[in-house]
Symmetry: C2
Subunit: 297 residues, 2 copies
């Protein structure tokens, strides 16, 4: 095995890596739940070596993207303001001595949203590049889901929704979780949540209905989590379609992507192309790594 | 001291009690953080005795309102469907042997909201009676805040917003709380949150701005909690004014009432009358207790 490039997608909770051959083929890959929130200051080199040490003799360039470039990461790399071209991302990557070879950390992106509010991403910009979409709206659902408008290959603006974090909080920490029981998936309950949230912007009132629909036995305990998911995704889809526009592609893994595609369909929107989040991340790291290599040549 | 009636407002987290004289004057009162969530099954009589045992020789009638009548309380009393008159509330109260005298637990109210969703209250119906408002919209903010429309002295419909529970969750359990520092109150930050939420229904996107406005130093760490409060209260006020209408009165304690009055003012709505939550609860229990007494006479 002779990799010519190593790519690392290092987020808050997980870390994935790929060793690429000269033709871009994936020669090896791995993932561990060692996101930056699990690594103490000074511990990043050892965690990287654990994943990718066997892939390199110390000479293979390593490209790192995601929260690893944040204030809580290995080395802070400032956000690039939108619009940022693929070349700008490569040019903005900052060198780091990884201990197992020369490394570059990719910058995140920032943009100005409504009311002049700044918005930020770290990691999604790599996936956007990897998906190879030049224009349109790309949806990257998750803990902090992003709706991104692309023009000429560059992200021009985007908006973040706290859907995934709210779902986890409400399910595990709030009164709403108390009536829930494991089960599902229940598509009818999910659809009811989506439809109501598409029709009524009073989300903080609709959320209370997770309790009352359970109390009065109208939604089964095993379906309440799907109903909650539908309310939150429906609210995001309503706002995203209004603010950002019709979705060209969704970058996510299967189940999550299918939920958003279903909600978009219920909103009467075009059902977009689905792109694997893993594949988009690895392709994006490869593309940035090659651009960095050309910049150095 | 010769009370002729004892009133107990027994909620999820706190319990307040009053001993009334023959003319309705409060002869004694007390409060303890012994809400139903802190009392094990079988323990209610002892906790009641601790508060009110010294007020009675065992013959004084005791009226109990709030979550004490829920499935998790002392004895479940079914919800009365809206509209429910004051007389219906008194007639629906169910007797209970409290161990320190004859007791009656007041029923809560239920109504049908948008999409046929049931909504419920327990305790607020007592405060509504006590405030003596016959018609209009009454706002009872809190963990699960209520907007209630009254006609002919009876609640005809209402809607619950999870504003208070969401605020507590997001401040203490979410990513948003990490940048917050104690301080405030900061009225400018609160106002900014209210104004943005009044103008933009994408609440789950606006919530992420609590993080970015902090990250980019546009709102001070000591003001971020007020900004979050403004976003959530602004979203509630926007939806409440649209769905339920202009507010006649707010029943709440001082600081919380002032926040809602301020948000209503920023929305261009009439600033309502403020009614103390404690006084409304005690007056409502007295009124229901007298009606029960007349019903028995």
């Amino acid at each position: 095995m002779s990799p010519t490039l190593i790519g690392i997608d290092w987020g808050t909770s997980t870390r994935r890596g790929w060793a690429f051959g000269v033709d871009g083929a994936v020669l090896a890959s791995g993932a561990l739940p060692r996101g930056i929130s699990t690594v103490a200051d000074g511990g990043f080199a050892a965690v990287l070596r654990e994943l990718a040490g066997a892939w390199t003799d110390g000479s293979v360039p390593i490209v790192l993207g995601g929260m690893i470039g944040s204030r809580q990461g290995w080395q802070e790399v400032p956000y690039l303001p939108c619009p940022a071209s693929p070349d700008a991302l490569a040019a903005g990557a900052q060198p780091i001595d990884t201990g197992i070879g020369p490394g570059w950390i990719v910058p995140g992106l920032s943009c100005q949203g409504p009311f002049g509010i700044a918005d930020v991403m770290r990691g999604e910009e790599v996936q956007l590049l990897g998906a190879g979409i030049d224009a349109g709206v790309v949806l990257l659902p998750g803990t902090h889901g992003k709706w991104v408008r692309l023009e000429g290959g560059a992200a021009t603006r985007f908006r973040t929704f706290m859907t995934g974090e709210l779902f986890a909080l409400l399910r595990t920490q709030s009164l709403l979780g108390r009536l829930m029981e494991p089960g599902g998936p229940d598509e009818a309950a999910f659809d009811a949540g989506v439809d109501r949230a598409l029709d009524d912007p009073a989300l903080t009132a609709l959320l209370f209905s997770v309790r009352t629909e359970g109390l009065f036995g109208r939604i089964a305990p095993t379906a309440l989590a799907d109903y909650l998911s539908g309310l939150l995704i429906g609210a995001e889809v309503a706002a995203g379609l209004r603010d950002t526009g019709e979705v060209t592609a969704i970058i996510a893994e299967g189940t999550l992507a299918a939920r958003y595609a279903r909600a978009l369909g219920r909103a009467g929107a075009t059902v977009p192309r689905l792109v694997s989040g893993d594949e988009a991340a690895s392709a994006g790291l490869l593309r940035i790594g090659r651009a960095i290599g050309e910049g150095r040549a």
